[in-house]
């Protein structure tokens, strides 16, 4: 479990980093390393060059405005999780981060890294997709914003090209009449989930105006389903999802978890929305 040989660069400016990436089609960005290093050690990934972005300036910000939360590429999960401002403006990010790995890993792992690693079992991609967030990307062709719905292509696959660096993720703020909730089921505390659901509900008085749920660890991609008119949200979600089986959860069991978690999380989000709307 030692990586194959690779070149290593630690640029101190974004342009240098982009050049280093652009020069080598087999180069990879190294952020917190909590996903990439295990892949290297098991020789499942053998990039020819690592471009370590930890030396880049001004990327560890967690900026919170009324619009939402902007997380820089070097902000660690733990920094985002510790921010009371983040929780106030978009509590779903905080709710989800509590379920991401363990404290030691959150101290190194970056939130943006998690968003662009696009692991279908990860919490944050589903959260970003559900909230309609986006990622800001720098590349040889300049800066662009990629909406979450265009970001996730397949398991561990995004629409970013190999010479681009994600510099910031944007999680929109929670509206005054909206509520969120989050639940996942993992085999052990801190593990990737067997299935997880995040919900976003908007109310008008007692009426639900819109309701949707983001699913992770269910299908091959983080998937958002609109459940506004669903009578049986679990079944309605299942109709839109293509769950897969693995050694921890059979297909039937995973479907059962969707059936159980979806209405629970929707109800909790509705409750949250009503509290906020009235409060």
């Amino acid at each position: 479990m030692k990586p194959a040989p690779f070149a290593y660069v630690r640029p101190s400016s974004l342009s240098e980093a982009l050049t280093a990436l652009g020069e080598d089609p087999d180069a990879k960005v190294l952020a917190g390393g909590q996903s990439l290093l295990p892949l290297l050690s098991m020789r499942l990934a053998q990039p020819s060059r690592l471009v370590d972005i930890n030396g880049l300036p001004d990327l560890d910000h967690v900026d919170v405005t009324d619009e939402g939360v902007r997380v820089g590429a070097l902000a660690r999960h733990s920094a985002v999780l510790a921010s009371a401002e983040v929780e106030r403006v978009q509590p779903l990010v905080t709710l989800a981060l509590r379920h991401v790995a363990h404290a030691t890993i959150r101290n190194r792992g970056t939130t943006v890294g998690s968003v662009v690693h696009a692991d279908p079992a990860s919490e944050l991609p589903a959260v970003l997709a559900l909230l309609g967030g986006s990622v800001d990307v720098e590349g040889p062709r300049g800066r662009r914003t990629v909406a979450a719905e265009e970001l996730y292509v397949g398991p561990l696959e995004t629409s970013l090209s190999h010479d681009e660096i994600a510099v910031e993720a944007f999680f929109p703020a929670l509206g005054p009449r909206s509520g969120v909730a989050f639940e996942e089921l993992a085999r052990r505390h801190g593990d990737y989930a067997m299935a997880g659901v995040a919900a976003l509900v908007e109310v008008d008085g007692d009426d639900v105006v819109s309701a949707s749920a983001g699913f992770f660890s269910v299908c091959e991609r983080p998937t958002v389903v609109d459940l506004t008119c669903a009578e049986d949200p679990g079944e309605a979600a299942l109709a839109e999802l293509e769950p897969s089986a693995d050694i921890h959860a059979s297909l039937d069991y995973r479907r059962q978890l969707v059936r159980v978690l979806t209405p629970r999380v929707l109800a909790a989000a509705t409750e949250h929305a009503r509290r906020r709307a009235h409060g």
């Binding site: 098991m42 085999r187 052990r188 505390h189 921890h248 039937d252 069991y253």
Partner: protein, 795 residues
């Protein structure tokens, strides 16, 4: 008087070092650059079953930093032979072992094929990637069903895949069952798991050309065993080989098997290359190239009366041995015999087949066949209770061996080849304690209350007996230095159990010295060349007894010399705080001074020696060292028991299952434990805590997921789920019972494996109680439980 340390909660002397990161493990040996240590990596088979058509290592030799590569055809002399079959047995008619490097055929994913030594482990792994092997892939045999079906064979010359068939009986069980008023049959299964010590295997070796000596450091459970096989396979005299076991980060059984291929290849390479060589197993290697255990399928026929008394018990089981059988039949024999637990069936027959499969080989893992046996027996007890509508505890009580029936002979032969005869125990008292501790009788009310809230809770109980402290022997050497410090050497190894504490307690008590003055060294063949090893919960019983005897010998000698020096009677002497005193007088002599007097060569190097000049010992008419005496204040003795001593215990657990998600949560876990006289309750409780954690792992999480082609799907800690501390019950409620063993001087029994044994049995019973669904296979995940529920609804 100093207080007796035996039985006290003495803090572990090891912990300061371990907790501050000052432990020194095999990988910490010879790390500085001037040591010039080279590093090894192994090419392992990617196929479960294949013929090796050719191996091309050309590209490796061109790689910078590579020093050498070996395949089977490069192995000299005895190195080329199959590895030894450690524990042969007449019933093991087709025992098979692997070669240090595969010859012609590989039989599991992970089997060693080539051995590379390079400047560092990175280069060594790069080199491994460059070796080209052409294989003719053969159909693999994966799992017990496939092995029994035998449409293909693991070993060509064992076409039915059966390595061993064995039967033991006491009475005529089939006839007793046929004649019994009630009968049931059950099919019960336990999946494969493995030890997974925090530190994997590791070997370092250095050849010293000046003295022609080889030093081997191995993370092993038997340094003397490793020494013997290294000498034999490398063609060295035993005297040329020293094996040192430094700190070991856990063993749990996997490190008692020996020699592992690397334990021979590393010393071979060190000698050939004239440089120290190190191999540190990584986690993936530990999954696919060490050992597994537990996989067994059992069929039970049982006949009983209306009180639940077992009149006849007939068990047939199939043991998945993996690709090879270096450790013989120890695991299935333990299942076959220890299955009986605290019970005395009217008649018993047990048969097993040990089957080869194209998977990692099987050697003992903490519990070693007992968790399976306990699962079979305890599930049977629960099934009898269900059949009769009786309380599960009552059915057990009806079958107990009674306290006045010891020694109790089961009429069977145990793993050590001796009769299965229990020395002592008090099972009714244990049952009483566990029922009190968990609140057994009040549980139905709790369950009804929970049900009213829509919650499902269940309670389970499981009892076991564990043969511990098997022979043949262990020894100890106790040396009192002139400083008064006491150096103790034991031959078996230590993997974190706290041996340096408990054995120091025994010595301090016997010699009357402060605990701080006693230092215990283990697993170093230079200090104790005769030893067996650390397994079968035997260290406390075997080495503990030996240490006691050796300390007693040293004490006897000290008193004899002191009596002479003080002109007193031996019977009037006592040793307190390291000083020999004539009771009731001021006459005294420090133990260190006695040590000086024990040696006629009296250079006055230190204060103790100067002080000793005032005393006169020895008969001037005789030689300075008398005929049957030796210089020095030392004691050396060995302990060898007639047979094993039998510890016992009972676990009770309360679980809650989620009606929607099928999650399984342990609400309470209680243990009553009887390991005879307890040397240190804190250490015994630590052993129980660890055992329970592994039991929880085996019951709810751990399982080797092989696919049909024999690839292990979960060969990492990401997918092989060991419980975190968050998954183990926060409080494990423990009560002790101390039924001394009559077999050894201290009345002790082993405690190392006990905690793990009844985990699956107790947790399965609790889930069954909560769910009303028969639980016959462990481990069980929420996904599995959901499948069982669905099957119940739509049969």
């Amino acid at each position: 008087m100093t207080t007796r340390l035996f039985g006290q909660r003495v803090e572990r002397v090891e912990d300061q070092r371990f907790l501050r990161g000052r432990g020194r493990y095999v990988d910490d040996v010879l790390v500085d650059t001037h040591a010039g240590t080279l590093h090894a990596a192994v090419l392992r088979s990617p196929h479960a079953h294949a013929r090796i058509v050719g191996i091309d290592v050309e590209a490796v030799l061109d790689l910078d930093g590579v020093h050498a590569v070996w395949t089977h055809e490069d192995l000299p002399g005895p190195m080329a032979e199959p590895l030894p079959l450690l524990i042969p047995h007449p019933a093991l008619t087709h025992g098979r072992t692997q070669h240090a490097l595969a010859r012609d055929e590989v039989n599991y994913v992970g089997e060693a094929i080539a051995f590379v030594v390079a400047e560092d482990r990175y280069v060594a792994e790069d080199a491994v990637d460059l070796i080209r092997v052409s294989y003719e892939v053969l159909p693999p045999v994966v799992g017990i069903d496939a092995a029994r079906a035998a449409t293909c064979a693991v070993h060509d010359d064992v076409p039915d895949n059966v390595g061993a068939r064995m039967e033991q009986r006491n009475g005529d069980a089939p006839a007793a069952i046929a004649a019994a008023p009630r009968r049931i049959s059950l099919d019960l299964m336990i999946e494969r798991s493995s030890c997974q010590p925090m530190e994997g295997r590791g070997v370092v070796s250095r050849w010293d050309p000046d003295t022609s000596r080889l030093t081997v450091w191995s993370s092993t459970q038997t340094s003397t065993g490793v020494r013997g096989c290294v000498a034999a396979r490398l063609g060295l005299d035993l005297d040329q080989v020293d094996v040192i076991t430094p700190d070991v980060g856990g063993g749990f059984g996997v490190k008692i098997n020996h020699p592992w291929p690397e334990e021979l290849l590393v010393p071979m390479a060190a000698r050939a290359l004239g440089r120290p060589v190190k191999f540190t197993e990584d986690r993936r290697e530990h999954f696919i190239s060490s050992a597994h255990e537990r996989g067994q399928v059992h069929h039970v026929e049982v006949g009983f009366d209306d009180d639940g008394r077992v009149l006849g018990l007939d068990v047939m089981f199939w043991h998945d041995h993996g690709a090879y059988s270096p450790y013989g039949l120890i695991v299935p024999i333990i299942t076959a015999t220890q299955l009986l637990g605290p019970y005395k069936p009217g008649a018993y027959r047990v048969r097993f087949e040990s089957l080869f499969t194209n998977t990692v080989m099987v050697t003992p893992y903490r519990g070693a066949g007992r968790p399976q046996g306990c699962f079979v027996m305890e599930r049977t007890m629960d099934a009898i209770a269900a059949e009769l509508g009786l309380d599960r505890a009552e059915v057990r009580a009806a079958n107990f061996i009674q306290p006045d029936e010891f020694p109790f002979d089961h009429g069977l032969v145990f793993q050590d080849g001796r009769e299965l005869e229990y020395d002592s125990g008090d099972y009714p008292a244990s049952l009483h304690k566990i029922k009190e501790l968990i609140g057994w009788d009040g549980f139905p009310a709790l369950k009804a209350e929970a049900a009213a809230e829509g919650r499902r809770i269940g309670i389970g109980l499981a009892c076991y007996v564990e043969g511990t402290g098997v022979g043949p022997y262990e020894g100890a050497h106790v040396h009192v230095e002139t400083s008064g410090k006491v150096k103790v050497a034991i031959g078996l190894t230590t993997q974190g159990q706290g041996h340096a504490t408990v054995f120091a307690q025994i010595v301090a008590d016997e010699l009357g010295v402060p605990l701080e003055d006693v230092e215990v060294v283990s697993g170093d063949t230079r200090r104790m060349p005769y030893a067996v090893g650390t397994f079968a919960s035997r260290a406390a019983v075997m080495s503990g007894s030996a240490v006691h005897l050796a300390a007693k010998a040293a004490k006897d000698k000290a008193l004899r010399i002191a009596a002479e020096a003080l002109e007193a009677d031996v019977d009037d002497l006592e040793i307190v705080d390291g000083v020999v005193r004539v009771r009731g007088t001021d006459a005294s002599l420090a133990l260190g001074t006695v040590a000086v007097l024990s040696n006629p060569l009296r250079y006055a190097f230190d204060e103790a020696s100067k002080l000793a000049t005032q005393f006169v010992v020895g008969d001037p008419g005789k030689p300075p060292v008398a005929e049957d005496d030796e210089p020095g204040l030392e004691g050396r003795d060995f302990y060898s028991p007639q047979r094993a001593t039998f510890a016992s215990g009972m676990h009770a657990v309360i679980v809650e299952t989620d009606p929607d998600t099928a999650e399984i949560r342990i609400l309470r876990y209680a243990v009553v434990h009887d390991c005879g006289n307890i040397i240190n309750p804190m250490i015994v409780e630590g052993q129980i805590h660890g055992g329970v954690a592994q039991g929880v792992g085996g019951a709810l999480y751990e399982k080797m997921e092989y696919d049909e082609s024999g690839q292990l799907q979960n060969a990492s800690f990401m997918d092989f789920l060991m419980p975190y501390v968050t998954e183990v019950p926060g409080e494990i409620e423990i009560d002790h019972l101390e039924t001394p063993s009559p077999l050894n001087p201290l009345g002790i029994k082993g405690a190392g494996e006990a905690g793990v044994i009844p985990g699956s049995a107790a947790i399965a019973a609790a889930i069954e109680d909560a769910e009303g669904i028969a639980i016959t296979s462990m481990p069980i995940s929420p996904s599995d439980l959901f499948a069982l529920r669905s099957r119940k609804e739509t049969p």
